[in-house]
Structures are given as C-alpha cells and as structure tokens.
C-alpha cells in the first residue's frame, strides 16, 4: 500500500533535477561587466564594434574575461570591479558618445546554463543598490496646456474667418471668448465647431458681455492625458538612456504615474537632474554663404566661419548654422506625424503659438528657397533634427515638414520636437535609494538568517522525529531548492522582504511534515501496524494541509493585489512557497518514505521517535 508507481518517482526525480539545475546559477554569483549598447536604434551592433571594444581594451592594457555579442549590445566580463571601472572609461573614450557604456553585473554561470535560460534570481533594488523613482504626471497641467493651445487656435481661426471678438482668455481648463452681439457669437460658434471638433461650446452671459465658453470633450481630455503620459514616458526613456544604466526600467504605473528604476546608479543627484532636465529646441537658418563642400570641410577641420556653428544631422552630415536663433521650442505648442495633403508623403505637422507664428511667417517670407534647421539642444550639445528648404511664406503658425522621410522618421521627428519639453509637468512622489554596500549587506543578512533558521529547524526535527525527521528535512530542503529554482525561472524580482518570505515559508512549510509525523505517531499509538500508520497518517493529514495552505494563500494573494514594491516581492515568494511546499512536504517526503519502507513485508517499528510510552504503567 505504500508503494508509488514508477511514474510518480520519475516526476519527483525530474522535478528535483530541474530544481537543482535552475537554482544552481545562484551559486555561481555574478561577475562585474561592462555593457555597450548604441544610443540610437540606427547604429548597428556588429563584429566591427566588437573589434573596436577589444582594441580599446588592448590599448589600455586591460584584460577581459570574455566578451559576448548579442543583438542589443556587447557585454564584456572582468575579474574585479576595479578593472571594470577602468575598462568602462577606456571603452567610453574609444567609442565616443554614440554608445551607452554601462557598468553591469552578469551571471557567472557556465555558458550552457545561460543558454537554457538558467539565470540567477533577479535582485530588487534594495538588494543590488540603485534608485527607484515614482513620478506623478500633473494631468491638470496637461489639460491647461491643451486649453492654452486651443485658445491660440481659436484666435487664429476667428481672425482668418474675419469674425470680430472682444477678447479671448483661458480660465482654468476652459477658454472664454467675448462678443458684442449675438449674431457674431453664433457665427463664431459655427466656425469653431468646424475647426475644433474636440470642444464643447456653451453660450453664456447677456447684454454687452456675451460669452462663448469652450471646454474639452471628456474623450478628448482622456486622449490628451493618455498622450501626455506616453510622451512623458518616451522622454524619460530617452533621458535615462544617457545615464548609462544597464537595465533601466521606465514604465507606466496606474493612470497617471511613471516608475523609473535605475539599478546600480549611485549618483542620485545626477539622475534626478537628468530626469528633470528639459531639452530645448531651436530654429536657426543655415549659412547659405558657406554651404559649399570646401567651407564645410574646413569647418569640420576646425575652421568654423565667424557667426556660425558647426552641427551635425542625425545621419552624420555636417552643416553650418548661423548662431542667431530664429525661434525656440517654447513657441511650439504641438508636433504630430502625418501626411502631406497634396503629395501624400509622410510629414510632420507643427503648431506654433501666436508669437511664434508671426515670427515664422516673417522669416519664411524673407528666406524663400533657403534652408532652415530645427536643432534639438540637450546637455549643451545641438543636433539637427531636420533641415528643410523653405518653399514659400508660411503663415498661421501651422508648419509642415516633409520630404525624404519615412513614416517612422516622421514619427521620430515629431517625438523629438515634442520631447523638447515634457507634455505635462512631473513630480517625484516616491524615491528609494539604496547604496551598494547596504544592498550587499541585506543579501548577506537575509540568507544568513534563512540558513541559520533552516539549520535550527533541521536539528530539532531530526532529534524529535528521528529518521522521519530527516525525511522531513530533506523535503524542506527540496522545497527551498524548488522555490529558488522557480524564482530564478520566473525572474521575479527578489527583495529583502522576499528573502524574509523564503525564510518564513520554510518555517511554516514544516507544519505539513509535523502534521504527518504526529498523525503517524498517533496511528502507531492506537495500535495500527507501521505500514498502515504511514498510509493513514499521510491520507488523513492531506485534507488539513490543503485547508491550512489555502487560507495562507488567500492572505498571500491579497497582499500581492494591494501591496506595492518590496511587499509585493514578499507576497510573490510567499504564494510560490506555499505551492512548492505542498508538493515537497506531501509528495516528495512520501516518495522517500515509500522508497524506504514500501517494499518491506516485515516492519515492526518505525524510526519516528518513541511512541511506546503509553504502554508503560501509569505511576501511581
């Protein structure tokens, strides 16, 4: 009765083997590495780049422990952190600023393990050190900006259609237009309704103070807010890329928040600075007098004409621009990718505010046939996004850039133009910074307490339940291995509370084995045969184990749903641990018992501690 069919033993063996395999990478630890990835998607990662990296290292006399080329970049391992930092500087110097060169830790497991995705557990920021920010996007700010934009649109539209209005101003998130008579107001309403379908118009006021109040439709509000969030995330990503962080995380959290996690970053002041920085956009004219090849070649060589700046297009083409700035990004109220109305080719539509529109109209009138450049300035360095030829006077503040662009490029340019400023102001509402020494200390303390606790439980169980205690300990060890393997496979984020959950789960999982062992003892005391006692003990304990684990699981799931950050890490480990403990405590320990005793015909006694005491006479 205490025999498992072969397939059950096989399942146990396979589970334990997989558990050992996938928990093994954690033993090897991690090695310091330098990760090289291109800053822009246009730059390819190829063996030539690898050659440059190797050359840079050889030139600096730095010995690498091996380099790996994958589609996202190059990873080079080093023996110790000192070499790693030296190597980073050497590579950065050799490659220039088109690449992100970041410090990173790579698993030290054998290559075949990494190939089958057997990786160490993914450590949270509290264990590896780094910065975590939660940024709140000011959605009201986004709507206010939109209202500003509509106010200038309405002004433009009414002027073009020659509708006389008394004045336009923004009040909160609505736009108020004043009129002197009803007829003009009705006419204006018709004009605005046609030009701005996103607005709800209401007529208010009486007598000499007639008002038309425009507010955004709810669906337009929602769209603007979603757009603002997406745009802020994109901008943040671009900025984070410059920080040289190996595995940055920038993602949406809830309706109006963004999480930014920068593992390994210690200089939080710099990180905050870069995240909060605003890039600026400038419109400048090309220096037509020096647009010939010779002048440009000379400028690249260092002889820049007086009053000019040498700048590069994204493709690397050098251009000479006049120092004088025509317009700044502050005048751009929106930029959207789209298509040219007549030719149908991809284009970028830019909206300028009133002042910007006037300047732009004047400049384009005076410079037909010449080229103008849109320059994005970040970190004090300019880059020409696009340098189109002015085909005619452009009025109305609506600018279209087209020609030699793919749809993707149009999208990118629109994004870059918008990225100059964030769509809506953001504020840091949560920050967690953990220094690297504290992270390492947390790991050490966490695992130390887990192993000491495990040792104490093992000692007690073996003393108290003899051989059955040892079996329980083996089951508990299996639980630990399976749990670590599962966490490694899922690459779930392990936090310090997560390690505490591993410890606590082990402390609680032993309950199942205590239940089983106590039950077997009880059956033995009641005079059952050893074989029967084992059978009944496991059978009867199972229901209780199930019930009690499900109640614990309910608590774990609730924690997962409502917890945040480190507590969520606790919940994940807790829930997984309950699942693995049911398998190891019941199936694995039973398997061991069956293997030992299942085939024994004659079994008089079980090594489960003394169960005979009740037979002795009660002292009077």
């Amino acid at each position: 009765m205490n025999r498992y069919p072969l397939w059950k033993y096989l399942i146990i063996a396979v589970a334990v083997a997989i558990g050992l395999l996938y928990s093994a990478p954690n033993i090897f630890g991690e090695v310091p590495a330098v990760q090289v990835s291109p800053l822009k998607a246009a730059i390819k990662v190829d063996p030539a780049l690898m050659g440059r990296v190797e050359q840079a290292l050889a030139g600096a006399g730095i010995e690498a422990k091996g380099a790996l080329l994958d589609p996202t970049g190059i990873k080079v391992r080093f023996a110790d952190p000192d070499t790693q930092i030296k190597a980073k500087d050497a590579i950065q110097k050799a490659l220039g600023e088109d690449y992100v060169v970041a410090l990173n830790l790579l698993p030290n497991a054998p290559r075949w393990m990494i190939a089958i995705n057997a990786l160490p557990m993914y450590l949270g920021l509290d264990l590896r050190g780094g910065v975590h920010f939660l940024l709140q996007v000011d959605m009201d700010g986004a709507l206010t900006k939109a209202a500003d934009r509509y106010a200038s649109d309405i002004r433009q539209e009414l002027r073009e259609k020659d509708v006389r209005y008394g004045g336009i101003n923004r009040d909160g998130q609505s736009v108020q237009v004043r009129f002197r008579d009803e007829a003009t107001r009705d006419k204006a309403q018709a004009v605005i309704e046609r030009s701005s379908p996103d607005l709800i118009l209401k007529q208010q006021g009486a007598g000499g103070e007639l008002l038309l109040v425009a507010t955004l439709k709810p669906e337009a509000q929602k769209r603007i807010q979603e757009f603002a969030l997406q745009q802020n995330i994109t901008t943040l990503r671009n900025r984070v890329n410059e920080l040289g962080v190996a595995e940055p995380i920038v993602q949406q959290s809830g309706a109006d928040r963004v999480v930014v996690q920068l593992p390994g970053v210690q200089d939080t002041a710099k990180a905050k600075d870069i995240l909060g920085r605003t890039a600026t956009l400038e419109v400048r004219m090309l220096d037509e007098e020096h647009s010939d090849m010779a002048s440009i070649q000379a400028a690249v060589g260092g002889q820049v004409p007086f009053g000019d700046d040498l700048m590069y297009e994204r493709s690397g083409v050098p251009l000479l621009l006049k120092k004088q700035v025509v317009l700044t990004g502050d005048s751009i109220s929106d930029a959207q990718p789209g298509f040219d109305g007549t030719t149908g080719e991809p284009a970028v539509h830019i909206n300028l505010d009133g002042k910007g529109a006037r300047i732009f109209q004047q400049v384009t009138r005076e410079n037909v046939g010449k080229r103008m450049a849109m320059v994005l300035i970040e970190k004090g360095k300019g880059e020409v996004i696009t340098a189109p030829v002015i085909r005619g006077e452009i009025g109305g503040g609506r600018v279209q850039i087209s020609g030699r662009m793919t749809t993707q490029e149009a999208k990118d340019v629109a994004l870059l133009l918008r990225a100059g400023a964030l769509a809506a102001p953001m504020e840091i509402v949560e920050e967690r910074t953990v220094g690297p020494s504290l992270g390492a200390e947390n790991i050490e303390k966490g695992w130390k307490s887990t192993l000491i606790g495990f040792g104490a439980i093992s000692f007690f169980m073996i003393v108290y339940y003899a051989l059955f205690g040892l079996i329980s300990v083996l089951a508990l060890a299996t639980n630990l291995i399976l749990l670590v393997a599962l966490l490694s496979m899922l690459q779930a984020t392990l936090t310090l509370p997560g390690i505490a959950a591993v410890a606590l789960t082990l402390g609680m999982a032993i309950d199942a084995n205590v239940l089983i062992n106590e039950r077997i003892r009880e059956e033995l005391r009641n005079g059952n045969t050893p074989q029967n006692s084992i059978f009944e003990g496991y059978k009867r304990a199972w229901g209780t184990i199930l019930d009690s684990n499900i109640t614990t699981l309910i608590a774990g799931v609730a924690l997962f749903m409502f917890g945040s950050g480190p507590v969520r890490g606790f919940a994940v480990v807790h829930c997984l641990g309950i699942l693995t403990s049911m398998f190891s405590a019941v199936v694995v320990s039973r398997g061991l018992v069956n293997l030992l005793y299942g085939s024994r015909r004659k079994l008089d006694k079980l090594p489960i501690g003394n169960t005979d005491w009740h037979k002795k006479a009660v002292p009077a």
């Binding site: 309950d511 239940l515 774990g556 917890g563």
Partner: protein
C-alpha cells in the same frame, strides 16, 4: 523523543470563559493603546523622507541635529540605526519642498560637516502615495478576512468561519496594540507580517476544526465540549511543535536579519505567540457558543472528505 505524553483529554472547555475573558482584556488593552497612543506609522504611510547615513566613526547625533536645526530643519528626528556608525534621519513631508530635493540638500549639509558621511539609503514618499498605501493596506486586511470566512464557510460551516476570523482578527489587533504601546515603527514589511500572521493563525484553527469534525463522526455519544476537548488535546503536540519550528526561523530573522527586518520579525513573534492561544482557546469556545451541533458537520446522505491531524 516526545514532549507531550497526555493520557487524558484536558478539559479546556470548562475554562472557556476564563480564556475568553483573558483574551477580551488583552484585546481591550490593545484597543486602548491604539486609541490613546496610536500607531507610529513609517514614512511609507505618512509621507516624508528617511535617510540612512553612515560614518567612518560613531555618528555624533547631536552634531547632526544641530546642523539640521541651523538650516531650519528642526522637525527632523535623528537616531542611531543598527550600529553606532549609522544615523537615521526622518524628515516629515512638506508641501513646499519636494522630498527628492530635500534629501540631496541634507546630504550636502552633512557632507560639509563631516566628509566621511555616506548615503546608504533614502526613502521618500509623497503624502498622497502614503494615503493610498494606508487605504490599500486596509482593503487587503478586509479582503483576507472575508476570503477566509468564505473559505471556511465552504469547507466547514459559517460558525467556524466566523469564529476563526474573530479569533484571528483579535490577534491582529493585539499585534497592533503592541506596536502602539511601544511606539515601534509600523512599516510596510510589518503590514506584510500582520497579514501573513492572519493567514498562518487561521491554519491553527483549521487544524483543530478538522479534528472537531472528525470527532463528531467518531465519538458518536460524546457531548460537544468533550468533542472539542479531545480535538484540542490530540492536536496540541502538533500545534506546539509547528509553532516552535516557525518561531525558530522567525527568531533567526530577528537576530540575524538586520535592522530592516527587525520589526517584521517582531510582529511575527507576537503573532505566533498569540496565534496559538487565540486560534485554539478562543476560536473553539466561540464555535461552541455559536451552538455548533453534530448535524452541522456530519450529514448522513453526503459523504464528506476526511481530514484530520
């Protein structure tokens, strides 16, 4: 080895009233302290900034305080954390300065005063985020309580579900009472511990309830108190051994787990100690007083799954 060599059932139910009165007094005391002293919420819940700064020598807390006061940060509290070399600085949330800037400013001040100052950790939480965490914590607690009642109702009967939840929520209140009395910091990991205790203590009640159900089937002629006495006595050994093992682990976290996990382990310790008491000696009498009968659990036409210790 066997610690519990009990030959006769211990008449727990005879003293049911005493156990419950003790429980009630502890509970009321906990509520009293919660009401008068309140919980000392961590920065996650209140909003504000916590900085852990380490020095190469024992930190001079008075000097740190004076430099903060000189810079109009007199509402900061400064204390040692873990070791004498480490100072923990708490700054309450302010409307005008964002915490992210505040921590940078403070670190600059400290570095100017003592170059060996090194930032180990910053936690800044805006007050809005803090409020949400309090709300979410309360919802989680409620959800766990409701989930457990429903499950036990399904598996046993409503009387059991209700009794288990009353007994174990009272553990939660007692843990909170301790935190209020000693003004220990109530942080997110402590909340996690409280919820884990809630799930864990219910285990305890479930084990006893399972045995009560089995006994109703086996001990046909026994009265309800006799059935419960036998159930508690025969599961007592397992109860104590299990809790002892869990406590071994928790003690290990308490001693070796470092300052961050200290209150987490402390909450678990209190929870485990009171969990034994309440889930066995409070939950079972409650079931009795709710008027449990044999017919509630043993339904002749429907064969139920057996589950026992």
């Amino acid at each position: 080895m066997e610690f519990f060599r009990i030959r006769k059932d211990i008449p727990f139910m005879r003293h049911a009233l005493v156990f419950n009165v003790i429980s009630l007094i502890t509970f009321l005391l906990a509520v009293f302290f919660l009401a008068t002293r309140g919980l000392h919420f961590g920065v996650e819940f209140t909003g504000g900034t916590v900085m852990e700064v380490s020095y190469s020598h024992p930190a001079d807390l008075d000097k740190v305080r004076s430099v903060l006061e000189a810079n109009k940060l007199s509402d900061a509290t400064v204390q040692n954390f873990g070791s004498s070399e480490t100072a923990l600085i708490r700054l309450p949330a302010k409307q005008d300065v964002t915490g992210a800037k505040l921590s940078e400013h403070v670190l600059e001040l400290l570095k100017a005063q003592d170059a060996s100052a090194e930032l180990r950790r910053v936690d800044f939480v805006g007050s809005q985020v803090g409020k949400e965490l309090v709300e979410n914590g309360a919802i989680a607690l409620l959800l766990v309580a409701v989930g457990i009642v429903l499950y036990l109702w399904l598996r046993f009967e409503w009387k059991f579900g209700l009794a288990a939840v009353i007994a174990n929520l009272h553990d939660v209140v007692i843990i909170l009472g301790f935190f209020a009395f000693f003004q220990w910091e109530f942080s997110l990991p402590v909340l996690a511990a409280v919820l884990a205790v809630l799930g864990y203590s219910v285990n305890e009640s479930v084990v006893v309830f399972d045995r009560i159900r089995e006994n109703f089937r086996k001990m046909r002629k026994a009265s309800v108190p006799e059935v419960i006495n036998n159930a508690i006595t025969s599961t007592m050994s397992r109860t104590i051994i299990t809790h002892f093992c869990t406590q071994l682990m928790v003690t290990s976290i308490l001693i070796f787990g470092g300052e961050t996990l200290h209150y987490f382990a402390l909450a678990l310790t209190i929870g485990i100690l009171f969990g034994i008491y309440s889930s066995v000696l409070v939950a079972s009498p409650l079931v009795m007083w709710f008027g449990v009968t044999r017919e509630d659990l043993v339904k002749p036409e429907k064969k139920r799954e057996e589950a026992v210790v």
